[in-house]
């Protein structure tokens, strides 16, 4: 047990010094001492609770994705069954999207088989999973039901797109290093360090920016519309709060509109006539063609510009708009117009996201916490060291040196693994300092006991390490179990606590057991003491 060949010593010292050196960039970060650039410089990241910043948890509603998908399917079915030539058209009616299924009656039962043939290709997406199930009831009612797999894929894609859109939006704010990660099936965590004003961020994330152009149903009776009764084939949308008609609603044709998701640019600008802030948009080629078509077919009619389910304004197509450019007005301020421009540029969110958790920490508080935490840690370490040296003399000194290496190695490993130090993580450091010397206490007490039973020095030390290690390993393994559960349970700051505790268990066993044994063995060999003052 006490035999340390040279290769083992070199190995242990090498490991210790490399790991401890990895802590240097973090420790020297606040000083003027520079580390040469050619050396790797791992540093520990500071969590939002120490660095300041915003943590926002967003959640999507999968039902919305499903509804959207159903609506798209309805359009697809209508286009597909219409066919390219009028005589091939399959007439359908009684279209319903109730219960999450799309059902319709085929006017002529003889067309059902042909409809099935036509619809089969659109029911399967690009992947291998079957996205829709088709069944026929009562001979002429066709029902398209989304499969679970298909819906999962759709939600999955929507979330991936949402993350991309969020990233583009946050990048446009010019903030540094945002963290955007998917959590579970329908959630996204957004962490932005050092942001003073999270309100603009939230305004950007809260905006779906689903822009639609739909024709106003001018045949609808205004009294019906205000009561929420829509004519067949139309639906009611409220005016946006910023609009001059806020509080009233308008009926628009459900189908036949176009979506504003094919934009290549969106800029805040001012209307040349009214000097009101507006958003100028430029469609891509395809979108421009569709917009030109819509405006050409509907000259003189009113159309509604709908953003996230609210009507911004209802201008008239005075003439066909062929250049693929348009202007959106709707009672904007410069700021809201600018936010909308950013949102439109970065693309629409495929699904609404709501903020279900938000934590913001100002930058001053974090610096204060670090200072106070460091002070407490230094005093605590000094107290532990004093207690250990007073109780165990030379063996206490070994424990102390091990403790210093422990803190360095722990910090070094955290830097190397690029983990995050949070405020509870500081408490984790203090806890590790207090608990790391426990192993030395157990070992030293056991050596003391073995001496009292009359064993000679070397045998007592050897037995001390051997007999104490059972309890040391058991204790560390139970701590490890609790630490892993803490890691699994915790989010954010609490997880930072678990990280420190768990890594600290490994480093403290290494320093308090392995390193001190090497030092004690070296001393015993050189000094050959006849008695231990312990």
């Amino acid at each position: 047990m006490l035999d340390f060949p040279t290769w083992k010593k070199i190995w242990l010292w090498g490991l210790t010094l490399i790991a401890a050196a990895a802590a240097l960039p973090t420790l020297l970060a606040s000083t003027n001492i520079d580390i040469p650039d050619f050396l790797p410089q791992p540093t520990v990241n500071l969590g939002l609770d120490l660095a300041g910043g915003s943590h926002i948890l967003l959640e999507a509603d999968p039902a919305q994705v499903a509804a959207q998908r159903l609506e798209n399917m309805e359009e697809t079915v209508r286009t597909t069954l219409r066919g390219s030539v009028p005589e091939n058209r399959i007439r359908i009616g009684d279209v319903s999207t109730a219960n999450g299924e799309l059902s319709f009656m085929v006017d002529n039962p003889a067309d059902v088989d042909r409809a099935r043939e036509l619809l089969l290709p659109v029911m399967n997406g690009t992947g291998l999973v079957r996205e829709w199930d088709l069944r026929v009831e009562d001979g002429q009612q066709m029902i398209l039901a989304p499969t679970g797999d298909g819906l999962d894929t759709a939600v999955d894609q929507a979330m991936e797109t949402a993350i991309e859109v969020i990233r583009r939006r946050i990048d446009s704010l010019g903030t540094r290093e945002p963290t955007i990660i998917r959590q579970g099936d329908t959630r996204i965590v957004v962490q932005v360090p050092g942001l003073d004003d999270p309100d603009q961020l939230k305004a950007l994330l809260g905006q779906t920016a689903q822009l639609e152009f739909k024709m106003v149903d001018q045949s609808a009776l205004p009294s019906d519309v205000q009561q929420g009764i829509a004519p067949l084939g139309s639906e009611i949308f409220p005016y946006a709060e910023s609009s001059q008609f806020a509080g009233t609603s308008v009926a628009v044709r459900r189908l036949g509109g176009i979506r504003g998701d094919s934009l290549i640019n969106a800029q805040q600008s001012f209307d040349p006539q009214t000097n009101e802030p507006v958003v100028s948009i430029t469609f891509d080629q395809q979108g421009g063609q569709r917009f030109a078509q819509l405006s050409t077919q509907n000259v003189g009619r009113l159309f509604a510009i709908i953003l996230d389910g609210n009507v911004l304004s209802t201008p008239v197509f005075n003439e066909p708009i062929l250049g693929g450019k348009a202007q959106i007005s709707g009672g904007f301020t410069t700021e809201t117009a600018n936010n909308l421009a950013i949102s439109l540029r970065s693309g629409a969110l495929p699904v609404d996201l709501s903020v279900i958790e938000e934590r913001t920490v100002g930058p001053d508080l974090g610096a204060d916490s670090i200072r106070k935490g460091m002070l407490a840690m230094l005093i605590g370490s000094a107290a532990v060291i004093a207690l250990m040296i007073a109780s165990y003399g030379r063996f206490g000194v070994y424990a102390t040196i091990a403790l210093v290496f422990n803190v360095m190695i722990l910090l070094g490993i955290m830097a190397g693994l690029n983990t995050t130090l949070t405020l509870p993580g500081i408490a984790g450091f203090v806890l590790t300092i207090g608990a790391a010397v426990d192993a030395n206490v157990l070992i030293n007490e056991r050596i003391r006991e073995e001496r009292k039973r009359g064993r000679r020095v070397v045998a007592a030390v050897e037995n001390g390490y051997k007999e104490a290690s059972r309890a040391i390993y058991d204790a560390n393994i139970t701590n490890f179990i609790a630490g892993v559960l803490l890691f699994m349970f915790g989010t954010g700051p609490v997880r930072g606590f678990a990280v420190v505790l768990v890594i600290g268990l490994f480093t403290s066993v290494f320093t308090a057991v392995v390193l001190t044994r090497m030092w004690v063995a070296g001393w015993l060999r050189n000094a050959r003491p006849n008695d231990l003052s312990l």
């Binding site: 938000e358 007999e467 700051p493």
Partner: protein
């Protein structure tokens, strides 16, 4: 140099003589803790109750105008029953408000509340600095509550199973009971004193589950050793001997942890106070329970020296017996 010995050599304290009264008191304390948890309830922070917490510093002022804030903030229409208290320095406050039902899933509403409360504070105190805002929806806080309960139960069972594997089932059960005692009393303290109960406290209790077992394991390890060594000794005497032999360790390991934590409790950042206080509290409860819960329960569960007779020799014995009979 004379070394410090906090525990004299060769103590012979009859710890287990008083095991029944201590055990009864502990059981009563556990019962009282749960009674407090169920009647008074835990003072959930925003993590578990949902709602909004705003922390602010009144820069340049000696003291935060808590009384004034109670009036101005309560007068706001969007706010009902705000909890306003000093937090950390004398000029720092925390304001906790519930999110009304209509705010669920409506981020604008929460943002508007923050804005109005901030405005109310700034009114007359333009130098107010907002240090942090936490907004947690009812959905998320509900999940936190479930996950927390699950994590606590899972951690206790997992470590108890480990002890069972490493020792014997009686030791696993004893450890589990000692942990249950520690967790119950910690929860009870939080209920009785209505200290804010947050995610950090759960982290603290999970840490306690790990660390409180350290002492228990040291005592158990010695009991196992002594059971093998003194086959004929009376169990109560053997447990007493084991506790006494490891007393110096129990005291020293708890003490090192305590002196490390104490400065953090006194000088540390205010937002860590709950976490550190809970761990410190758990440290004392845990040390007590490893002596007075974990050890005596072995008597009642009927641990004997035979528990640690090597399996082979027991089998050999049986074989010999069987041969003798035939």
């Amino acid at each position: 140099m004379r070394l410090l010995k906090l525990v004299p050599d060769d103590t012979n304290i009859k710890f287990l003589k008083l095991r029944i009264p201590f055990f009864v008191v502990s059981l009563l304390l556990i019962a009282a803790s749960w009674a407090a948890v169920f009647t008074q309830g835990l003072n959930y922070g925003v993590d578990f109750a949902g709602g909004q917490e705003i922390r602010a510093t009144f820069v340049g002022e000696a003291e935060a105008p808590v009384a004034e804030l109670r009036q101005t903030v309560s007068a706001l229409e969007v706010v009902e029953d705000p909890v306003i208290q000093r937090f950390g320095e004398p000029n720092q406050v925390s304001i906790r408000v519930k999110l009304p039902a209509e705010a669920e899933g409506q981020p604008e509403f929460a943002a508007m509340m923050t804005e109005q409360i901030t405005a109310a504070m700034r009114d007359g105190h333009p130098e107010v600095r907002i240090d942090g805002v936490d907004s947690v929806s009812g959905k998320v806080s509900g999940e936190f509550r479930n996950d927390a309960a699950l994590a606590l139960v899972a951690a206790m069972l997992a470590v108890a199973i480990y002890i069972w594997i490493r020792f014997e089932w009686q030791f696993g059960a004893g450890a589990l009971f000692a942990l249950f005692h520690d967790v119950s009393l910690t929860l009870g303290m939080f209920a009785i004193f209505q200290l804010e109960f947050s995610l950090q406290i759960i982290a603290a209790i999970l840490a306690i589950i790990g660390y409180s077992l350290n002492d228990t394991i040291v005592v158990y390890d010695r009991i196992r050793e002594n059971l093998k060594k003194f086959r004929k000794m009376d169990l109560t005497d053997l447990l007493d001997l084991s506790v006494n032999e490891t007393l110096a360790r129990t005291v020293m390991t708890s003490l090192t942890l305590f002196v490390a934590l104490l400065p953090l409790l006194i000088f540390g950042p205010a937002s860590l106070f709950g976490l550190v206080a809970a761990i410190t509290l758990g440290l004392f409860i845990g040390t007590y329970s490893s002596v007075y819960m974990a050890a005596p329960i072995l008597i009642w569960l009927g641990v004997t020296s035979d528990s640690f007779v090597p399996q082979e020799s027991a089998a050999d014995l049986q074989e010999k017996k069987a041969r003798g009979l035939t």
